[in-house]
Structure formats: structure tokens, C-alpha cells
Amino acid sequence: MRKTRIVLAMLAALCLALPAAAQAAGIKQGGKAVVSYKDDVVTLDPAIGYDWQNWSIIKSLNARLMTYEAGTAKLVKDLAADFTISPDGKTYVFKIRKGVKFHNGREVKAADVVYSLNRVVHPKTQSPAQGFYKSIVGFDEMVAGKAETLAGLSAPDDATVKIVLTAPDATMLHVLALNFSSVVPKEAVDKWGDDFGHHPVGAGPFELTEWSLGQRLVMKRFTNYFVPGAPYLDEIEIQIGLEPTVALLKLQQGGVDILGDSIPPARFVDIMKDPEWSKQVESGSDLQTGYITMNVKMKPFDDVRVRKAVNMAIDKERIVKMINNRAKPANQPLPPTMPGYDKAYKGYPFDPAKAKALLAEAGFPQGFETELYCMNVDPNPRIAQSIQRDLAAIGIKANIKSLSQATVIAAGGESDQAPMIWSGGMAWIADFPDPSNFYGPILGCGGAVKGGWNWAWYCNDKIEEMARKADAMSDPAKTAEREALWRDIFIKIMDDAPWCPVFNEARFNMHSTRVAGDAKSFIDPVHIPFNYGKIYAKDAQ
């Protein structure tokens, strides 16, 4: 502890010598933050990393063509200095910033962008994100192993990247802002091979300087980062192996600044009641919806009246109360902060009597017996029990199958296994802030395949056609029209009721009094959840 203070004092002293650029923003650079996590970081390879923990770390180690304005879903340029989209929406030309450096000191060139995107799609990389790039010309050939590079990707000169698509794709800019599109230097990937994930090199605000497996990671401020004055912190230490309860005690003692695994549910009420510590809690909404899927291919959920009855039977308020109000009841698939959310839509009312009548109309006056799958980690089994109780009230006897995450996901991906699934702990939080991401994989026909994530097995050709139309509207001038179309799509889906949307989770996070920043920096919906670049140390000020 004393050691940390000395280090902090030294860092603070160092700050006096910092360039004027940093001070112009009003917040001074310097200081350190300690972040706690229970589990070890799996990988920091931006082409592979895809979980709660490494997402924000990878984000702050790397740069990519596009990014989002901090704390919002607004796309802005990152490595791109400028870009143009052809009138047919099929050709994107990016001019990249000059003088941007990788952590290894080499300048970022257009060829690096091309290399990095090719790398994600190349079968050898085994990237989970391959499918995001499907609209780039040459995708099919590369996936099939017939080509080593994407024909639609090129770097005519050191500062220009050209991307040609097979069809207009309104989500392309979002895809280029994903972690997976991070630009990495080929020489570092070649040097480390499969171990690149433990020796990442990028062009982001922080660089990784130490990783003791299972113990700690240290990120230092990258002094050549291309955004002047950013980031604020000199160092971020990620401590591994801290049980959330212990991490909270450590934060209160001064050994930890940011709770990576959030506030442990068992202590949530105490903290929120505490006059001092509750001030250190930041809250915001994720692009997340928790829902019950009803498999439309399995009887009796093939009858829309049964699905509507379930929608009317669930007491969402009670479920929200059960999780200490860490969510808001939902009435449609999209979360409120997602473009396309319909504020006017009222959803199905909570009306058990009407639900019972609908069941009778569908030929089940006595109800029926079915199964409800859920993930076996708290609070999901408790939520499933609450759902079970509500269903019992209208005569549906649902047996709960509380299983490991992998097993539930596997059951959902079979057309005849899981009649109902409570999605908590597994789905769905958006990859990027665009409504299409809440359709394709989880409600579209493409997801209704073996091993897919459309656990309701809902596939409606008319809706599919509308979605195709919306995704082709890549002209920025048509944003409002596109949003309206998506709004229409999701309300039409609700008429078919393949899901019963239950709640939109709120995110709570807590930090020590030593670090500060805009509330959004701790609950950023795109950085999920920390925007390390925007957090600063108070003792450095």
C-alpha cells in the first residue's frame, strides 16, 4: 500500500514534465488504476478475443478505421482520416491518418489495415468474427480455402484502403469499428505465431508491458499514441484471481480502483444504501435484452396464441425486483438505447386471465407440460423459477432444466430440444449499436440453423425480405428511413411473439475515490464496459 503511494507520488511528480497538449484538455495525465478480475484473461488477440473481460482491454490496446464517440453509439473516425462511400454503396475508400505508430515503433500503413482484415477472415486464424465480413468481395472463396486474401480488399497506396462489397451493407462501418477490425503489424503476428494473443501489439492508447499468467497484466500509456493528450492514466494494472467479494473489500481498503467483475450481487444492496460508497457507483444501460424463447417448431409453441398467452402471463416487474432493480421491464426485442426502439409500443399486457383464455382458445384449457431451460448461474435459476410460477398460474407446467451455459446453448441450437429458454447469462447483448445485430443471428432465418442462436427457430420470409432491404440502405442520408423500417420489423415480430422479452439489464460498476472520469467511462455500452482511455487519476491532478 505504502509502496503504491510512493509510486503514485513519483508518477504525479513526473506529470509536471508532461507536454502542454495533455494539459489543454484540463485533465492531466499520470497516475495508475488497479482493475480486479476473477478469471485470467484468455487472449488479447483482437481477431479472437470475444468476451466481457478482454473486450475493453483489447479496445484500449488497439486502433481501427472507425470507432465511437465515447459513451455513445455515434460512429466517428479513428485511424481513418476520411472516407467516401460510392453512390451504389458498394465501394468504400478510406484515407488513413499519417504518422500513426504501432507500439513497436513502426508507422501504420494502409497495407497493415488490409493485412489485418484478411487475417480475421483467413480460416487459419479461427476467428469467431469471420462472418461479420461476409459482404466483402472474395469472402466465400477465402472461407472455402480457395484464396489467401479477399479480392475486395486493397491498398492502392500507403494511405488508401479500398473495400469493395458484393452488395450494399449498412452495417459495414460498424463492423470496421469492432475490435476484430483492429490493425495489427504482420511482423509481430509472424514472430509470435499462436502466442500473439499473449504478446499483443497494436496502435491503441495503451501498450501491454507485462503479463504474468494467472496473476497480473500491466498496460502502460503509449507515448506515441496518435490522439494528443490521450489517454490520461500512465498505467493500468489488472490483477487476476480476485473473487468479486474480496475485490470489493480491497477496493474499500484502497488496493483496487475498478471492479472488473462489477459489484457482487450479495453486496449490492449494502453498497447502494451506504452514503459514501453509493456515490462511487456508476450505472447505465447496456444494449441488452433478456428474453424467453419459444421454439415455434415444437408443439404447442407452433401456435401463436400459446406464445401470446406466455407473453401475457409473465410478471416482469417481480423479476426485476428480484434482481434488486438492476434492470427495466422490456416489451420488445430491441433495448431502449438502440436505434429503432419503438417508444410508443406498449407490448403485451400482464393479464393472466386473458392468457388463460387464449390457451383455452388454442385447445389447452387445462394447460400443458413443457420444459424451460436456463443457465445454472445465479440469478438465472431464480428467474426461471419466477417464470415457472407465472406459467403455472395459467396452467402451464414448466419443468426447469438448469444446465451449464454450453449445454443450454447446444440445446437451443437443435430444432427439437428446448421448447423454452430463459436467455439470461447468454444472450443477447449487441456486438455493435445497430438494430440488424438484434435480428440476423437471433431472430432471422440465418440463425435458425443447427448450432445457431435463433433459439425460437423463428423464420418469417416477409420479415427476412424487409431486413434485407434495411441492410442494403447504406446511404447515410437514409438513416431515419432505415431506422423506421427496423422499428416496423421488430413490432411485426412481436405480433408473431416468438419471444417474451423480459427485461433490459442495467450495468452497475464501482470505482475507488482515487480514479474518476465521466460516468460513461465505467459503463460504456460499446467499450463494454470500461473506456480506459477516458479514466483519470485524481492524485495526478
Binding site: 485470467d40 469471420q130 494467472g214 454450453a406 456486438d431
Partner: protein, 306 residues
């Protein structure tokens, strides 16, 4: 002696082969697909099949197993599906912490178990006996996460004598080792007590007493040496047991041992790590037993002749 060694070695190899085979089959019997876990939720069918192919998981199970054993024979445990790092590197990185915790835990087990068992046996039927046996019962039955959290709260949070979890110094080791020692010590004391009571009924103890030796000398010199044999066997088993990781204690204290590695791997069905950890545990159990077999004759000359 050399024929004994050769026989044990032969047995060990077949045990280890059996363990790999069973673990291998079990990992594939789980009704979940490791490739799906790896590919994540946005992967297309092509991506999933591609990853399956890259990892060789599309080959028949016997072929996969044969390949695994062949690589293993060359000292290659493969690479983690998820982390891509070599399993050997991952396991070795967890070794120092695991070994420390094992040594600390066994030390506490002995420090708690032997004296408690001795006193209980010497005072058989008296208050001290029932007192220690109640304590040992508590020690054995208290869940480790409860003992762990209580120790952590009292000694690290309130009194601040020890750090709040983590790894590095001897001070970090005390509480996690003590937590394990309390459970194990409970077992040891019961074993020690019953073994000592048996010994104390032997003729040679009566002779020793008749010679007028002090009760303490009878107990510690004449009794202990004979009564301690089952404890040695238990330590041998514990070596293997702790090498497989003490998942609960490791997670309460944030101890970077092999248990954490295994736990994380099991959640995502990272088969190479699961195989590796199981193998290390099996080797350690075999080794621990072997060690106990070697030490016991040193303590008891009668075993040397056999």
C-alpha cells in the same frame, strides 16, 4: 528394490494411459460442442466447421486419441483451444503457486492433525478427547469457502495481519494454506487418534510403561513412530490431491494455482487444458503414493524386509 521400482513404473504408465483415455472420452460425451464455445455466438456454420477442421476435431475419436497419445509421448500436451498457448506453458506457469500451496497446506495439516490426534488418544474418553474430536469434526465439515471467507474477513480485512488475497510472499500463503490445513487437519487428527489408540494397546507399550518410562516418552518415542504410518500414506495421497488444484480455496484467495486454470478450462470445454491438468493430477497421485511407499520403510524397519 529395482524390481519394485520397475513394477511400480509399469503400473504407473498403464494407470496414466487409462486416465487419459477416460478423460478424453468424457470430454466428448458432454452434450456441448467445444467448437461452438470457441466460435462464439456470431460464427456462421462455415466458421464453426472451419475451426473444427483446423483443430482436427472432425476426425474420428480413436484417431484423435491416438494422435494425442503420440504427441504426449513426445512431451507435447498440445495448445489450448481458447488461449492458443501451449498447455505445458500454462501448467508450468501455475506450478510454483500450486507447489507452495501444497507444501503449506500439508504443513498445517500435520501441525494441526498430529498434536490434536496425539492428545485425544492420550486422554481418551476425557474432556480433551471429546473437545478435540468436536473441533476436528467442525474442521472437516465446514465448507472451505466459509472457512476461507471468515479467515479472510477477520485476519486480512479487520485485523489486517495478512494481505487480502493474492500471491507473492509467505504472508500471502498463510491463510489459504491454513484453510486447507483446517479441513485436512481434521481428518489427520481422527486418523492419528485411532491409530495411536491401537498402538497404545500393544504389548510393547505396556512393557515400556512397566519399565518406568515417562508417559510422554512412551507416547512420542515408542507410540508415534508406529502410529504415524497411516498419516504418511495420507500425505502421499494429499500430494496428488492438491496438485489437481484446490479450486475453492484458490478462488476465494485469488491464488493462481492449477485449480483456477482447470476451472476456467472446464467452463469453455478447453479439452487440451482439461486433459493436461488431469494428467498432472494423475501423475502426482501416482508419485505421491510412490513417495509414501518409499518413506514408510524408513520409519518402520519391518516394512523393509517385505
Amino acid at each position: 528394490m529395482s524390481s519394485f521400482l520397475a513394477r511400480r513404473l509399469g503400473q504407473s504408465v498403464s494407470i496414466l494411459l487409462g486416465v487419459t483415455l477416460i478423460t478424453f472420452c468424457l470430454s466428448f460425451l458432454i452434450p456441448a460442442d467445444p467448437v461452438r464455445m470457441l466460435a462464439g455466438r456470431s460464427a456462421t456454420q462455415e466458421t464453426v466447421e472451419n475451426i473444427r477442421h483446423q483443430l482436427g476435431l472432425d476426425q474420428p475419436l480413436p484417431v484423435q486419441y491416438a494422435k494425442y497419445v503420440w504427441r504426449l509421448a513426445q512431451g507435447d500436451m498440445g495448445r489450448s483451444f481458447k488461449q492458443k498457448t501451449e498447455v505445458t506453458t500454462l501448467i508450468l506457469s501455475r506450478m510454483p503457486a500450486t507447489l507452495q500451496l501444497m507444501a503449506g497446506a500439508i504443513l498445517f495439516e500435520l501441525l494441526i492433525g498430529i498434536p490434536a490426534g496425539l492428545i485425544a488418544a492420550a486422554r481418551r474418553g476425557k474432556k480433551a478427547d471429546s473437545g478435540f474430536m468436536v473441533l476436528s469434526f467442525l474442521g472437516v465439515s465446514a465448507p472451505q469457502f466459509v472457512t476461507g471467507l471468515i479467515l479472510l474477513y477477520v485476519f486480512a480485512h479487520r485485523l489486517q495481519w495478512f494481505p487480502l488475497g493474492g500471491y507473492g510472499s509467505l504472508a500471502h500463503l498463510v491463510l489459504p494454506a491454513l484453510t486447507l490445513g483446517i479441513t485436512g487437519g481434521g481428518w489427520y487428527s481422527r486418523m492419528m487418534r485411532s491409530s495411536m489408540i491401537d498402538v497404545l494397546l500393544q504389548d510393547y507399550i505396556r512393557t515400556a510403561r512397566a519399565k518406568g518410562l515417562s508417559p510422554l516418552r512412551v507416547l512420542l518415542v515408542h507410540g508415534l513412530r508406529n502410529a504415524v504410518l497411516p498419516i504418511i500414506a495420507m500425505v502421499g495421497l494429499d500430494i496428488g490431491f492438491f496438485m489437481a488444484g484446490a479450486v475453492v480455496v484458490e478462488s476465494v484467495y485469488g491464488w493462481p494455482g492449477i485449480g483456477q486454470l482447470a476451472w476456467q478450462a472446464i467452463q469453455v470445454i478447453d479439452i487440451p487444458i482439461i486433459m493436461g491438468v488431469t494428467l498432472v493430477a494423475a501423475v502426482s497421485i501416482v508419485f505421491g503414493n510412490f513417495l509414501a511407499d518409499l518413506v514408510m520403510p524408513l520409519v518402520d524397519p519391518r516394512l523393509r524386509e517385505n
